[in-house]
Symmetry: C2
Subunit: 282 residues, 2 copies
């Protein structure tokens, strides 16, 4: 079994580790726009050999986990080179643009559009961890456009990695994910920025910040390459979510400035039911 | 050793558990505005007996951990009733108003104003956990206004609980804490609100939300009583922090709407150094 991993960061690297564990006979080839990452992935044993797009004809699997704004050019090129039964999977956090980019490709049926919802705030090959996808949701878009036999194989792979499957159309995916994932990242990055701007002396932050701040600002450690690319690709939805977030913050500030403490209390209390929603999230 | 805990929530309850562990001979008395909490705390063994303010004359320690907007009335009343050597400690998340409320009290030297920076998103006596304060920062304000011998005793207690001590004036405390703690809570609550408003069907949230969302929105589970009270007490600082946060979000939205991806990238990258700041936070 030959597996090509294109993009050897947190997601591509973690997928490589899990695939190697699930299929010990697999030979993994790695490619990355950053040659330092390729060498790091080889050194860490994430992949066994360096790969080239021209060679994916012999691949059983090609996993594409590059920044989403690079997918639209890269995926059709990958599909140009694959063999009859190669399965190409992307792991992008946006789906509409990606599905659009390959919709008329003659090899569209070899492609399966997925968003494995898993990650950490770290990046690069050294961030790859085994078991990252266990128990996590994998959203598959436009499943009907993938050849049935290849779907079956892919589902088996996802099952071995411990993922739960959800099907969704790419436009709905991008709308919802703007709220439950992309917006969180902006809120966290801008929280980090606001605090850093205020606190020139970092010792003060360090000493006063507790676990609450650490948790809320955690995502601000994430890769700017990955995230600028996601915001770009999902611009309209992200801007709308951000607009609503800003409006809610402004309403809250108004209540505070007007000494409307009952109003503030009601805002907080009605949001408390996020408890029950979050109970189901790992 | 007699210890009165007034306010049997997460903080008061956790302090009671740690004190009992550090001083097995201690007898703990509990009081709470909510009688259900008193009974719960008795049932859970957090305190051994119900207490009354009138009885604090015999107390070695009185720990006041009620919502901060109730402190200004309660603390002077507690000080009215204490004995010669009773030490009164508050655990409020704001300090200026509290210090002001007792500044001219004849028993000011029996009081030590503290902010133990520790907590979880849960509340009430059942949220109390042992070891919550271990390794955490305890900010002491206006230490010079507390009798030296009582300071010594209090430092010994905090040491047994594993806390690191930092001294700060109450006005600086309230300014900085607005950024590193209070703002995080508003950002998280409003993130939760924005997502709930959008996602009427909670199954969608549940299935698509990952650990990133869970982490960023965690604080939105916090007690509305505690937090509405904190925002009220620290109104000016919180409003200013919120203003700057909103301004930063608006700048980001502008960059997004103007397709200024380099600008977005730079915003994200320059905030990435929060990594090094956070490295020191548990």
């Amino acid at each position: 079994m030959k597996v090509y991993i294109i993009g050897l960061g947190l997601i591509g690297g973690s997928l490589a580790l899990d695939i190697k564990k699930a299929y010990p006979e697999a030979v993994l080839y790695g490619k990355d726009a950053n040659q330092v990452h390729v060498e790091e992935a080889l050194r860490l044993g994430i992949v066994g050999e360096q790969g080239n797009i021209e060679d994916v004809k012999q691949a059983d699997w090609v996993i594409v986990a590059v920044p989403v704004d690079a997918m639209a050019d890269l995926l059709p090129e990958v599909l140009n080179h694959i063999g009859e039964n190669t399965i190409v999977i992307d792991a992008g956090s946006t789906k509409a643009g990606i599905c659009k980019a390959v919709e008329n490709h003659p090899r569209r049926r070899n492609f399966i559009a997925t968003h494995p919802i898993a990650g950490t705030e770290f990046s690069g090959p050294s961030a790859a961890i085994e078991g990252l996808f266990n128990g996590k949701t994998n959203i598959i878009c436009e499943v009907e456009k993938t050849a049935f036999k290849l779907q079956e194989k892919a589902l088996k792979l996802f099952g071995k990695l411990g993922m739960r499957i959800r099907y969704m159309d790419p436009v709905s995916h991008d709308t919802h994910i703007a709220y439950v994932s992309h917006l969180s990242h902006i809120s966290s990055f801008m929280l980090g920025k606001t605090v850093i701007e205020k606190e020139k002396d970092e010792r003060d932050i360090f000493d006063m910040a507790g676990s609450g701040f650490a948790s809320t600002v955690r995502l601000a450690k994430s890769s700017p390459v990955t995230w600028a690319s996601i915001f770009k690709e999902n611009k309209t939805n992200v801007s709308q979510a951000l607009q609503q977030y800003i409006a809610n913050l402004q309403i809250f500030q108004q209540l505070l400035d007007n000494d409307d403490y009952d109003g503030m209390f009601n805002e907080l209390e009605s949001t408390n039911r996020i408890k029950h929603i979050l109970d189901g999230i790992q």
